[in-house]
Each structure stands twice: as C-alpha cells, then as structure tokens.
C-alpha cells in the first residue's frame, strides 16, 4: 500500500482541509464557539485582578515566523490591557520583536484606544541582545538594560517608568514566546527569582508541552498555541463586546480554529488508516508464513 499511495495526495488533502474552512469562514464570517481551559482562564483572571493604572511588563519574544500563532494572542492581550486601563511596558528579547510590538500597538492602541499616550500609558522599549543575560540583569537593574525607549527618549523621563527599578516592581509580566529566549527562560530567571511576581506566557505549539510543567506553580497562566489564543479571544470578547459583534481584528485566532479542526480530523484519519493497513498487512504476512 505504501508503495502505491503517492504522498502528494496527502499534501493535497491537507491543503484542502486547511484552505476550504478559511474560505468558508471568509464568506460566512462564522467561527466555532470556544470554552476556556483553566490555563487561559487563569491568564484572563490575572489581568482582571490588577487595579487600574498598574504597569505590566510585556515581552515580545517572537518574529514573523511564528506570527500565525502568536500575533492573535498579542493582539487580544493588548486589547485586554488597554480596556482595563493597565499600562504595558513593552520589551523584546528577539530582534524582530519590537516590529511585532509596533504592529500590535498600531492595530490595537492607535486604532481603538487613540487617547492613550506613548510614554505615559504605554511604551515600547525595544530589543536588547543577550538572551538570559538580559533577564538576569533586569532582575536587579531594569534601566541598565533598557535605558532608552524605542524612539531614543531616556526612560528616566517617561512617566510610565517612574519607580520601576527592577523587574520585580511589575505586578505582572507577560511573555509571548516562540522559543529561545522565551517562556522557559522567563520562568528560570525571573519567576524563580521573584516568588511574588505573576508570570503569564503565550507560547507556540512546539513550546507548549515543555512549558506546561511550570503551570500553575511557576506560571500563573498560559496560552498554549492557537487554541489558547482563540480561548483568550473569546474571553476578552465576552468581557468587552458582550452581545455586540466583535471587530474582525479580534477574531483572528478563532478564524484559524476551523482549519485546525479539519486538519486534525484528516491527520487522525490518516493515522487510523495507516495503522489499519499496517496491521492487516502484518496479519496477511503472518498467515502466508
């Protein structure tokens, strides 16, 4: 059987399983309902628990290669922070992270919260090279690693940075992470060294199984891959939009769940068929011998 089935049929099947639901969603605008799992709910609750005006450190530790999974969660998190009138201080451990952060700021803050002022209500401090070295240093001296914001303004002059000397001064830290340095390093160097600090992580599917073991002890909440992003989107939409129609910007992850469903169904079917063929062939060989 394996000699007669051209693998390109499988590629074609996967292409259709992913592409057709996207077109279907584009035409109908319908998405599947999402019910949140405890790690996603914990992320939502941790942000809800903060008092208005609290500063939140948000690290964009990804690049365009992981945008499909992580940008929707970054967008929803930023929307939630803005809605709660919290103040995100954005940094990046990946060189292209600040660009992703700027995109999120442009889409969410400048688009839907234009009254928020850079330097007062939010700030992008840009990228610092050094991986876990950066995390080690900001544990004791935040300004040593991030002396300027992305436009070159010294952080000493930014109202949002008043009183912030180390990472432990933030009541909440969020990392949106695609690999190294990312979620694991934030747990190892920041969460462990600051027992009272609340750390949330949004991670890619590849990372999720490694990071899960830190939840809920060292990680208060976790958004695992596109499913976590879709759950969080649903939670934020329910809290902000209620019965109103959610703007399309905030349904990106849920739009990607229909392709997930059909892609997974195809994969499960292929695994079952492959195993059935394998065992039937083995049985026939045993009978022949």
């Amino acid at each position: 059987m394996s000699g007669t089935l051209d693998r390109r049929w499988i590629y074609l099947g996967m292409m259709l399983a992913v592409a057709l639901p996207i077109l279907w969603n584009g035409v109908t605008g319908k998405t599947f309902p999402e019910s949140p799992t405890p790690p996603s709910q914990a992320c939502f609750d941790a942000i809800e628990a903060l008092p208005e005006g609290s500063r939140v450190l948000m690290s964009f530790d990804y690049d365009p290669a992981s945008e499909g999974e992580l940008s929707p969660m970054a967008t929803s998190l930023m929307r939630h922070l803005m809605h709660k009138r919290l103040k995100p201080v954005v940094i990046a451990l990946w060189p292209l992270g600040p660009t992703k952060a700027e995109e999120t700021i442009a889409n969410v803050i400048k688009g839907d919260f234009p009254d928020r002022v850079s330097g007062k209500d939010f700030v992008n401090l840009g990228f610092q090279t050094g991986g876990e070295g950066v995390l080690k240093v900001i544990g004791t001296d935040f300004r040593k690693q991030f002396p300027l914001d992305r436009s070159g303004t010294p952080v000493d002059r930014l109202p949002i940075m008043e009183g912030i000397t180390k990472v432990g001064d933030f009541p909440l830290v969020i990392t949106i992470s695609a690999g190294y340095p990312g979620g694991k390093e934030w747990v190892q160097y920041v969460s462990s060294a600051n027992p009272g600090l609340v750390l949330l992580a949004g991670v890619t599917g590849v990372q999720a199984s490694q990071i899960y073991s830190y939840y809920p002890g060292q990680l208060r909440g976790m958004l695992a891959a596109i499913k976590g992003a879709a759950e969080y989107e649903a939670l934020v939409s329910a809290a902000i939009d209620g019965d109103r129609v959610t703007p399309p910007l905030y349904t990106e992850a849920r739009r990607r769940m229909a392709p997930q469903l059909f892609g997974h169904l195809l994969l499960i079917a292929l695994i079952i068929i492959g195993n059935a063929v394998y065992f039937s062939q083995r049985g026939r060989k045993a009978v022949a011998q």
Partner: protein
C-alpha cells in the same frame, strides 16, 4: 514513486514544472481580471512635526508639536492603507493623492506571494523556484543578523562604552558622554582572541574566550536549572493524594489528578533507573512510566501539528486575503470576491 520524483531531475520533470507554473499564472491572470482585481497595496502619508530641546544633562529630547512651529522638523511616514479606504477617498474626491497605490509595496506583496508558492512547491519535489527562494531566505537572514549584531551589540555594548563622544556624535544623540567604561576592553580583547580561530596558527588563543563563554553560560544555567527545574518541580509534585475543596469537602477529580501526577512522575523516573533491573514492581512501574512518556510525546506531537497548521492557515490567509482578494474577513476592501460570487449563485438558485 514519490521518492523518485522528489530526488531526481529529468527533462520531463522540467516540462511538468513549467506547465504547473504556467497554469498558476493563467489562473492568477483570470482572477486579476475579475471584479476589483487583486494584489495592490495602498499607502497614505502621515506627517508629524517635532521640536528638540537639550536638557541640563546634555540629552536631546524630541517632542511632537503643531505643524508649522518655528524650528520644528517634520517627519513623514508612509503607512499602509486599505483598498476600502482608497475607494472611499476616491469616491469623495476623485483623483485625490492622500491615499495612493504604492508600486514598491505592491511589488513586495507579489514577491511574498511568489516566495510562498515557491516554498510550497517543494511538496511536489525539488525545483529551481524553491532553490532560488531558499537561497533568498538564507541570504536575507544572514544579512539581517549581521546588521542586528552590529547595531544591537557592537555599537551600544562595545564602541559606545569605549568611545562615547564619537558614538554620540555619530548615531546615539542621547548617549551619556561620561559613560566611558574601560571594562569593555575585556570583551573587546576576548572578541579579538575569538577571531583568531579563523587563523590556522592562532586556534589555541581562541579557546580562552570560548572557555569564558562556556563557563559563564554553565554557571548561569546551573543555578536557574536547579532552582526552577529541580527544586520547584519537585515541590510541585509534593501534593496531597487525597484532595479537599475550599469548603472542606472531598474533591474526587482533584484527588485523581494528584494521584496521576505523583504516580506518573514516580513511574517515569522508575523507567530511567538503570542501576536496578526492570523486574517485579520496578519493571511494572517502568512499563507504566513508558505509557506516561508515550502520552507526553503524543501530546507534544499534537501541539506541534496544531502549531504547524496555524502557520499554514496564516500563509493561506495571506494568499487569499492580501494577494488574491478572494475573501475580506477584516472588512478592509468592502467587497469580497468569493462572497460576491456566492451571493450571485444563491440569487440565481433562488430565481430558478
């Protein structure tokens, strides 16, 4: 059969590939001639005026001011606009230039679509378009990392520490000129020693900075690993096997979960204890441990599949939404081809 196609190039294959790309080109041309067309990028110019002031510490501060303010500098930024915004602006003021088509970004969009299809084409077998795209990706990544290394590492972490006045005048106007730091000579020296790895005679010199890097990294990792991956993880396993809720009542599901966690950890560890023969109770525990490992690997595989499908969906969305303009879920163009076709079809069906 597929292996033969994947690995061997033949004149027939060349013809096959040319045929495939021609077919795609024809389909794209047909799509471009339907309705509002496809694959165009629009931009609008956003200008902001800034005034500068020098503080007591010599640092320059730029503040956004009203247009036309004396001594201000106007910075123009070109921002993306949607086709819907362009159409609305044209309807209001025909021939307006506030929102216009950007030919260079349109070219970028088409190149991105071509590269995406070229990478996908590897699924059918190796081919020149894939090889060309792969080379572009590698070249751009290498160039990008070199520039990042220069501007994010060498300039601020080394040159700015050793020659702050020069760097302030050159590229970092807000740099503190009193920031001369002779300690930066040590990484400079280690960096030069590391470069000696490139020479046949100086390889032994390069081992010193390597030893420094490895030693530092090992020290950093050791502490964090012991704390977060051993002590904290062990603590997370020390949980009651019989759990009770906040109101003091027995919590059966929490108890089952805790038993699974503790039992899973112990059985998995038993599998990795090789100093005891896997017989009797240890053998049975190790076999259960293998099941836990298999479930873990399965879960990791499932997550990986989910991640990969999400990335594939994102690329398809780019092709369908940004390039082909087939659908418009964000309402940016106000006209979506597939829904227009679907609407026409349903109208015809209703009429029949």
């Amino acid at each position: 059969m597929s292996d033969a196609i994947m690995n061997e190039a033949s004149p027939q294959q060349g013809k096959w590939w040319i045929g495939l790309f021609l077919a795609i080109a024809v389909l794209v041309a047909i799509r471009a001639s339907i309705g509002e067309g496809m694959g165009r990028a629009y931009v609008q110019t956003d200008s902001t005026s800034y005034s500068s002031a020098t503080g007591d510490d010599g640092r320059v501060m730029w503040t956004a001011v009203a247009d036309g303010t004396a001594g201000s500098v106007t910075i123009e930024r070109v921002l993306f606009a949607s086709a819907g915004e362009y159409r609305a602006a044209e309807a209001a003021t025909p021939g307006q230039q506030a929102i216009r088509i950007s030919w260079d970004r349109t070219l970028g969009l088409w190149l991105a679509a071509f590269f995406t299809l070229a990478i996908f084409s590897f699924l059918m077998g190796d081919n020149p378009a894939y090889k060309f795209t792969e080379s572009i990706v590698i070249g751009v990544s290498a160039g990008y990392w070199m520039v990042v290394g220069f501007w994010a590492m060498l300039v601020p972490k080394l040159v700015a520490q050793l020659a702050p006045s020069m760097v302030k005048a050159w590229c970092m106007p807000n740099l503190d000129v009193s920031a001369f730091n002779p300690v930066a000579l040590i990484p400079l020296g280690l960096g030069i020693m590391l470069l000696s790895q490139l020479t046949p005679l100086g390889r032994h010199i390069g081992r010193w900075p390597l030893a420094f890097v490895i030693g530092t990294f090992a020290g950093l990792k050791m502490i964090s690993h012991v704390e977060s991956d051993i002590i904290e993880q062990a603590r997370a396993t020390m949980i009651p096997l019989v759990a009770f809720g906040d109101d003091g009542s027995f919590a059966p599901w929490d108890s089952v979960r805790n038993i699974l966690i503790v039992g899973g950890v112990l059985c998995t560890l038993a599998y990795f204890v090789f100093s005891v023969e896997h017989k009797g109770a240890v053998g049975r525990a190790a076999r259960v441990g293998v099941w836990f490992l298999m479930i873990t690997f399965g879960s990791a595989f499932g997550f990986t599949v989910m991640g990969r499908i999400a990335l594939l969906a994102a690329r398809f969305e780019f092709l369908f939404i940004d390039w082909l303009w087939l659908i418009d879920p964000k309402g940016q163009r106000m006209v979506a081809t597939v829904s227009a076709i679907a609407g026409s079809c349903s109208a015809i069906l209703n009429a029949i």
